[in-house]
Amino acid sequence: MSKELIRLSNVTMAFDGETVLDDLNLYFNDKEFLTLLGPSGCGKTTTLRIIGGFLVPTSGDVYFDGVRINDVPPYKRKVNTVFQKYALFPHMDVYENVAFGLRIPKEEDGGGTDGSKKKKIRLSNQEIDERVQEMLGVVSLKGFEHRSVSSLSGGQQQRVAIARALVNRPKVLLLDEPLGALDMRLRKDMQQELKRIQQQLEITFIYVTHDQEEALAMSDTVVVMNEGRIQQIGTPEDIYNEPKNAFVADFIGESNIVDGIMREDRVVEIFGRKFSCVDAGFAPDEPVDVVIRPEDVDIVDLKSGALTGTVTSVTFKGMHYDIIVDFKGFKWLIETTDFCPVGARIGIKIDPDGFHIMKKSQYSGMYGDYSSYSAEYDEIGDAEYVEGEEEAPEAEE
């Protein structure tokens, strides 16, 4: 499809003997919106800083357009970064911040590698003005030229940072959790805004976030990372529908993950009962992890239920209820539009395509149990919780 622009080849990064990136192999296509997704400490920001040139990998190589750039300093790379806390120059106004990169004389491109004949090109003031104005238009900040950056709101500062990076017409824009400091509504707006800018300017975006919703909403490709390794690469749909292991299944969306045994192709056994599923290609009687998404479980009456359990908690979420159901000591999260009171006995039914079978991995047994639901809910909430506007009220009856 599109051509490869950046390649990380066997990149390992260690700080004081502690491995942060472990033999990473990853390539980035031209004009792609790629998101590095993972919990804090997973190595995603380190990966971004290696591409930006702020870190030199302990071992391994970085290629840009086929050229090894390990030793190329940041100021000579054709990538620009939007920093987490914007890093706008406080002693310059909006205009000068955006014009910063344009005022730097550039060495003439091409003409081989003959260092002696490099001519410095300086943009004229008129050219600079045109490009600054154009970019302020792209980020909807016209009229803010001479405001001081400290007088701007978080969202406006964010857009100045984006304009300042994009005005240099980089081939790749690196974004390090750029929406982390914004409140929920502004974040949703900026997500669409960023996606629009990316498509309008046809630039590769490499986006770092720990927010799975953000990653799914914006990306062409999502790279899920944990503990310095890539867990899965794929389209948002792939990552959500076909998670490779328990970590990915748990990190992307809500998942019930139970131990199962693949009795034969398209038959899986959980809780001692056989269910038909759509997965095949496992060894007979192979132990597996079974993912069941909360929205794939249907609540039916006790008699026709394949499994029966007791409702232990109910949370009203607006569009639906989140209920926790106890099946023989294992607690499931189920999304339902039918109200089931706490203590009710219910039956459930799962369609064959509601099961997703994964091979056992190092993460087996670590995720997917909702026994400590409230604690886990808080943890998930933390990543998105900004000003309480998105928090659903507790069901009060």
């Binding site: 940041p74 100021y75 620009n80 970064t81 806390k85 406080p90 910063f100 990076a165």
Partner: protein, 270 residues
């Protein structure tokens, strides 16, 4: 607010030892020896215009030297490992823990014609230097004594500079040189301004340094004022007038300098 009461002791102190003396100086400056209002003290100052010029010139040179020595030092210092930084900052402050007079005497024995410096030069077979009792010696004395006051404010501003701003500049294509001139230096201006203030103001009014190292040949304002109050030509009215004029000139200098900074980036004076 009850907590305001905590500021009262200082307020009393300031009234007694800062505001009252300034009022006294003003009163003395505008009164004749026998009492009564007069401007004659100020016309008497004209005779000392050479002292004024010398004081501001020497203090200016010393301040510039402190800046040229101090800024690179502060900059390099801020790049070192935190542990080394602490040790080096302590070494810079160390001389300040010793008595000012003692330090100046020590410098005297170094700079003397038969002092350590010349002995050392002789050892190397180099020509002797006649530094003591010249304006140059006064400048050296000022730089030696006031350098920490330049280094520390600049260092504390640079060390707190947001690393990501430097990375942002590099990211946008700025070479290390350009990054320094366009980002690091402009953002360290507040430190430079307070460093200049903290060196220039005491330097312009110093009197011991010029007496000990300048050999009385390069009299400065501090010496002149001391002479009018304690010395042979006792005239506190003239001394007050000189002190007042010096104060005003210093304030004007600082205000002019603050034009280089904007907003919060101003030096401590006014």
């Amino acid at each position: 607010m009850k907590t305001r009461a905590f500021a009262y002791p200082y307020l009393a102190w300031m009234t007694l030892f800062v505001i009252a003396p300034i009022i006294l100086v003003v009163v003395y400056a505008f009164s004749a020896a026998g009492g009564g209002f007069t401007f004659s003290n100020f016309s008497g100052i004209a005779a000392y215009s050479a002292v004024f010029l010398r004081s501001f010139a020497l203090a200016g040179i010393a301040t510039a030297a402190c800046l040229l020595l101090g800024y690179p030092l502060a900059y390099v210092l801020s790049k070192e490992k935190p542990r080394l930084q602490r040790v080096l900052v302590m070494l810079i402050m160390l001389p300040m823990w010793m008595n000012f007079l003692l330090r100046t005497y020590a410098l005297m024995t170094i700079l003397e014609n038969t002092g350590l410096l010349n002995k050392f030069l002789a050892l190397l077979g180099l020509p002797q230097l006649n530094i003591i009792n010249t304006p140059g010696a006064v400048v050296i004395g000022m730089v030696y004594n006031y350098l920490p006051f330049m280094v520390l404010p600049i260092y504390s501003v640079i060390v707190k500079l947001d690393r990501s701003l430097i990375e942002a500049a590099q990211d946008l294509g700025a070479s290390p040189d350009r990054c320094f001139t366009r980002v690091v230096f402009p953002l360290s201006l507040p430190g430079i301004l307070s460093g200049i203030t903290m060196v220039f103001v005491p330097a312009v009014s110093t009197f011991v340094i010029s007496q000990l190292l300048g050999g009385g040949k390069s009299m400065m304002l501090g010496d002149l004022i001391e002479m009018e109050f304690l010395g042979t030509s006792y005239n506190p009215h003239l001394g007050s007038a000189i002190a007042l004029v010096m104060m005003i000139v210093v304030v004007i200098c600082m205000r002019l300098m603050n034009k280089f900074g904007s907003g919060e980036e101003q030096a401590v004076i006014l």
